[in-house]
């Protein structure tokens, strides 16, 4: 039992670490597409780790099923949402940092 506790603690803490790094990322990265990259990838890994850590704490009952349901659901929807958002932003005319630089150069040059 203790062994499980240790593993789940490690999973939880590392999940939280990824979550925090993602949160810092959405402030620190320079343009929208890098920021969404930081957010979506850490979101997924943090979800897997934290829900995984919690799963080890259940005693294989209805709660386990619900946690797995949450995991599956988030794994499907979260990346989809990020993808669709990036796509929307692209359609809305948002440029990456490199493109913006290029455009600027074209204008000045």
């Amino acid at each position: 039992m203790l062994f499980l506790d240790v593993i789940s603690s490690i999973l939880l803490i590392s999940g939280v670490f990824f979550g925090l790094s993602g949160a810092i990322g959405i402030f620190k990265f320079p343009d929208f597409f890098t920021r969404i990259h930081a957010a979506s990838i850490t979101d997924s890994i943090a979800t897997i780790l934290i829900v995984g850590g919690l799963l080890l704490q259940t005693s294989f009952d209805l709660n386990t099923v619900k946690l797995i349901f949450i995991l599956v659901f988030l794994m499907i929807t979260s990346p989809t949402a990020s993808h669709a958002l990036a796509k929307s932003a692209r359609h809305g005319g948002l440029l990456t940092m490199a493109e913006a630089k290029e455009k600027k150069q074209e204008k000045t040059g």
Binding site: F69, H83, A84, K87
Partner: protein
């Protein structure tokens, strides 16, 4: 620990509310309102009100936000600069706030078990309802049995909202040509994922409907979640496709049927010689009667709420589609 979480969440909530006041971009206002609902639902969980949190999350953050966005798509995103003075409103607010603060001075301490609230009516619900009504979820017992008439009123309010929205916005069936226009047609990933997710949501709605006696949830929440599944379908695949799945006329009948189903339980108990909504009289055994009664009325609530929420969404959405095509 619980107090700390509570304090942090309340602080976040207050900041969100203050941010809403000063934002001029209405889209951001609505997004922050969604967060506001989410946060308040978190506080509800922390204060042990799981059923309320369930409802607030699905209604406040879900349905309300979707409807507000639908309205905003028609009315424009920017709030214009406010020309009239904000002095009088501020005075009114300050007076009201001062009155409320004055009122809190004699309020009982937060969370004290000796508060009058926990001493008078509630003990019976907590101690007797598992025996009298036979359900582990006391909120469901009180909602559906002790205060069943309130819930009937609540269903009627929802029904009245349908009447109001229909009298204002007509649901219009679109032609084939429009059908190709609406929906998020460029997002292919979304199409696949939505097809995958919608059955899961409906399954979950059914679970919430029938598990509401034992855990958080019940007819209202289930109705909203089921409606959310179809709203997702309509958002992704376009309104005409959603009409093909479930038509407006059918929804109207469902909405009425739900109210009538609820009331018919009451009428049946009157026929059996009890008062209105007296489930004890429905079956030979009072406990069994309570059980049947609650299952049926929860079903009635679920049906009405599902139908009304979806019809209201249809009404808003068909306006949006119309303006977009123009």
């Amino acid at each position: 620990m619980a107090e700390l979480i509570n304090l942090v969440l309340l602080a976040m909530l207050a900041l969100t509310a203050l941010r809403i006041i000063f934002l001029k971009d209405l889209f951001a206002v609505i997004m922050l309102f969604g967060i506001f609902s989410f946060l308040s639902a978190l506080i509800f969980i922390n204060l042990d009100a799981v059923d309320v949190a369930f409802t607030e999350a699905s209604v406040g953050a879900g349905i309300s936000t979707v409807l507000m966005l639908g309205t905003l798509a028609l009315t424009g995103r920017k709030e214009k600069a406010n020309s009239h003075s904000s002095f009088l409103p501020l005075v009114v607010v300050c007076i009201t706030g001062a009155a409320l603060i004055y009122g809190t001075l004699d309020m009982p301490d937060f969370g004290d078990p000796d508060n009058p609230v926990h001493q008078h009516v509630a003990p019976r619900y907590i101690e007797e309802s598992p025996k009298e009504v036979g359900l582990p979820n006391m909120v469901t017992s009180v909602l559906a049995s002790y205060r069943g008439f309130d819930t009937l009123g609540e269903v009627v309010v929802v029904f009245a909202a349908l009447i109001a929205v229909l009298s204002l916005l007509s649901i219009r069936k679109e032609t084939e040509q429009d059908a190709s226009e609406s929906g998020l047609k460029s997002h292919h990933v979304l199409h696949v994922v939505a097809k995958l997710v919608i059955p899961l949501i409906i399954l979950f709605a059914l679970y919430v409907q029938f598990h509401g006696d034992f855990g958080p949830g019940g007819g209202f929440q289930a109705g909203v979640i089921a409606a959310a599944a179809l709203i997702l379908y309509a958002l992704v695949f376009g309104l005409p496709n959603a009409f093909a799945v479930i038509g407006a006329k059918f929804l109207y009948c469902m909405a009425s049927a739900g109210v009538l189903l609820y009331a018919s339980v009451g009428l049946f108990s009157m026929y059996k010689g009890g008062n209105f909504l007296d489930y004890n009289k429905i079956a030979a055994e009072p406990l069994a009667g309570q059980h049947y009664g609650i299952i049926i009325i929860e079903l009635g609530v679920g049906i009405t709420v599902f139908a009304v929420m979806l019809s209201i969404f249809y009404a808003f959405s068909s306006q949006t589609a119309r303006s977009n095509i123009k």
